[in-house]
Symmetry: C2
């Protein structure tokens, strides 16, 4: 899935692009329906553009990589590598938007961005170069922008839950945690039970008119009045793959959900000395072919120099959802043995009904992975209404749902108080799906009246 590289924080993705592409096909089709145009903007951004929006650059400045030399020559002006493309694209939004008929303007690009972070890089999760899609849109009204923010967030939820089989919480980021320069930020948040850390899965921001003001992006409405546009910005990255790996992986290696697995079924011959090896190999080949014809992604492993046992471990490590074994006994009974990667369950299936059974099994594996992940995640969620409950839950590496007064200063203090080896605790999001907040409920941290339920935790 991933190989380390000789430059820290950069990784090689040799065999995971197919998973990435499967989600890309889904996402591209959905945003094409939303009339988003695909584009490519440059990798480089001038210092002047990058520095135009003050909050925004403040958020990124320490991590920007600068090109200063070409060949043997020093460049007249250093040029930044995009850490994100708002400031790359918005000067052209200004140019392209004249009247209300130019709106909405919607672009998306698939590209690489660079954030030269000095804190621990983590494969997939926090890398210096990463791959993502970034959508940048502009509207005449806030209402249209608001609507799109949630529409895209819904797609991100589906990518996690329907494709990756990873449960997420949709919600609103706090003022402290929102994207620098945004009016508000929504996100989907996942949780990794093994490490007790939450992870921001993807974000969909309403930028309000902040960038429009800085980049002077105006349009003339149908009454001839000059107005500023409302803008959104939304992205998900190869981090999704890392989340999936961490959520489903086990001691034997990867566990891939069938919807994204490049190989859904691996067919392995299990010959015995006296058996008709040729016939068994043919049956494997035929079985894979039948499954491929039915639209599944099946392959055989007919290598003669590896034992069946070695092959089992090999394909378990790679996370293939189903393994089919065919031996002499199976041949005699016109059946195959099917073994699930997720729970190890084995069953013999008659070859006459194989396609339907495999379809059901793959659906079942996909659903089971999600259900198991959700059960584990839910078991990690703790409600805390007092600081003591909160601190205890944090010790137990929980994802904590707590009533909060929604004051920035209070969040900062919680961060301060929880600082330590494990990293500070902060808000993850305020879930859109709010439990009832009984009148008189107090903030767990400040004792002031609580305004909402918010998720807190340590985070990647």
């Amino acid at each position: 899935m991933l190989e380390y590289y000789d430059i820290s924080g950069c990784y090689i993705l040799p065999w995971s692009m197919k998973i990435w592409n499967r989600m890309k096909i889904f996402f591209d089709a959905e945003i094409e329906n939303m009339e988003v145009e695909e584009c490519k903007f440059p990798l480089f951004v001038s210092e002047a553009s990058l520095h135009k929006e003050a909050d925004h650059i403040e958020g990124f400045a320490p991590d920007v990589a600068w090109v200063t030399i070409s060949g043997d020559d020093e460049l007249l002006n250093p040029i930044a590598i995009r850490p994100t493309s708002e400031t790359v694209m918005y000067p052209y939004f200004r140019k392209w938007i004249r009247g209300h008929r130019d709106l909405p303007l919607k672009f998306n690009q698939w590209c690489n961005v660079v954030r030269w972070e000095t804190s621990n890089p983590t494969p997939f999760i926090r890398s210096r170069e990463f791959h993502w899609q970034e959508g940048r849109t502009a509207f005449a009204t806030k209402e249209e922008a608001d609507e799109e923010v949630l529409q895209v967030l819904g797609l991100y939820r589906r990518i996690y839950e329907e494709f990756m089989a990873v449960p997420v919480v949709k919600g609103m980021k706090s003022e402290n945690e929102k994207f620098a320069g945004a009016l508000y930020t929504t996100s989907v948040e996942a949780f990794i039970p093994n490490t007790g850390r939450a992870i921001q899965g993807a974000t969909s921001h309403c930028l309000g008119q902040n960038f429009a003001r800085m980049f002077d992006i105006h349009f003339e409405n149908d009454k001839g009045e000059k107005n500023m546009v409302w803008q959104n910005s939304w992205a998900y990255s190869t981090r999704t793959i890392g989340v999936m790996v961490m959520v489903h992986g086990d001691d034997k290696g990867l566990v891939l959900p069938p919807k994204v697995a490049s190989k859904q079924v691996i067919v392995i011959p299990v010959p015995y000395k006296d058996a008709d090896t040729r016939a068994i190999y043919d049956a494997c080949f035929e079985t894979a072919r039948e499954l491929n014809r039915a639209g599944f992604r099946a392959e055989t492993d007919l290598r003669e120099n590896y034992s069946p046992g070695w092959k089992y471990s090999h394909w378990e490590l790679k996370g293939v959802p189903l393994r089919i074994e065919i031996g002499p006994k199976d041949m005699a009974r016109n059946q195959v043995r099917v073994v699930r990667r997720d729970n190890g369950a084995k069953q013999d299936i008659s070859r006459t009904i194989l396609v339907d059974q495999i379809r059901d099994l793959l659906d079942n594996v996909q659903q089971s992975l999600f259900d198991a992940a959700k059960q584990k995640r839910d078991a990690c969620i703790t409600v805390a209404t007092t600081w003591e409950e909160f601190a205890a839950a944090l010790n137990e590496k929980k994802m904590i749902l707590a009533p909060w007064c929604d004051e920035e200063e209070v969040e900062r203090k919680v961060k301060e108080r929880t600082k330590g080896e494990m990293g500070a605790c902060k808000t993850l999001c305020t879930p859109f799906d709010q439990p009832e907040l009984p009148e008189g409920t107090l903030c767990f941290a400040s004792g002031k009246p609580a305004k909402k339920w918010t998720y807190w935790g340590r985070s990647y």
Copy 2:
């Protein structure tokens, strides 16, 4: 199609990605059949890796962009942005290849590369950042490598001729013009009649064992002997789009071949004062819908604030292959008027047979574009057997086919002698499809015995 950017040599591709993606789908399917795996390698390359292959780095060194600063800190070691990825990928080929069972190893990635060239950047054709696919493969034998070189070159020919409707010549680059570090380079060469310049369309290289030697990429064969791998490298870039634009474009703007056009048919209402405008608009809508259902990419332009004439020019500029006009007379006769972008031909078509007729017309436009381009290109090819003929043809901006002794020194001298405002003339390629070379034919430049027919010309 393209917008200039505030950093010289970088361009914005706002609406041309769909064309790019259409070729990508074709190419990806073909190389998947060849069992090439998709991957992503890092944007950055360390100085040590970059400098390992001497000829290779000599070819790129003047154009390499270096990152030296992150945030406010100077990096300990400057890091290069890949100008191409041989040196990024081959250390990992070394790691992944152990025995003959690991071969062939075949990877392809779609990515951006940076060559900070100081000579005139030209949109699509020569840009500092560009997008391409780069295939990197390793084989146990030279025969397998040789075979793949030509197989991929065949795909490049198809991209140009079948999709872009641009005729190309398949051939071998000279020693002077081959890829730095390659054993040999094959290419498809296009020609732009308007400017009298040839352009290298795409290249497929056999690297021999040069990089294997430098990066120590060995495998153990089935007899337990240690051997070096044979490697290939092949790429085509967004330049393809530039070539297409230059070959087919005319005074009215773009002319897009139907196979790659995002919009193949634009349907425009032509109402009159007294006519039933609603019915005409409905007919336009219905016509587009019928064509879309039949699998074409059709759209309407029902904007009320623009005249039909304005719309005609607008969509001609954008190169849409067919325009359908529907006015009162067409309504009365249950017909539409169809106008071709490529030659302006108009015809009335009954709505009852529209789908079949549009299918034929689109096929015909695609073929006509290719035929017209080939006729123009062929008219630019001149055979020259003496220096005088050669010089005259070069003055007339021709693509020159000349008998050549195949000596590097002679090519260098021709370059020297033809230097000037227009740029020097060099070999384009030695076509695989060789005309007969009568015995005793002499080299046009050196007077020595000629070994082959080679194309010469000024080039982008």
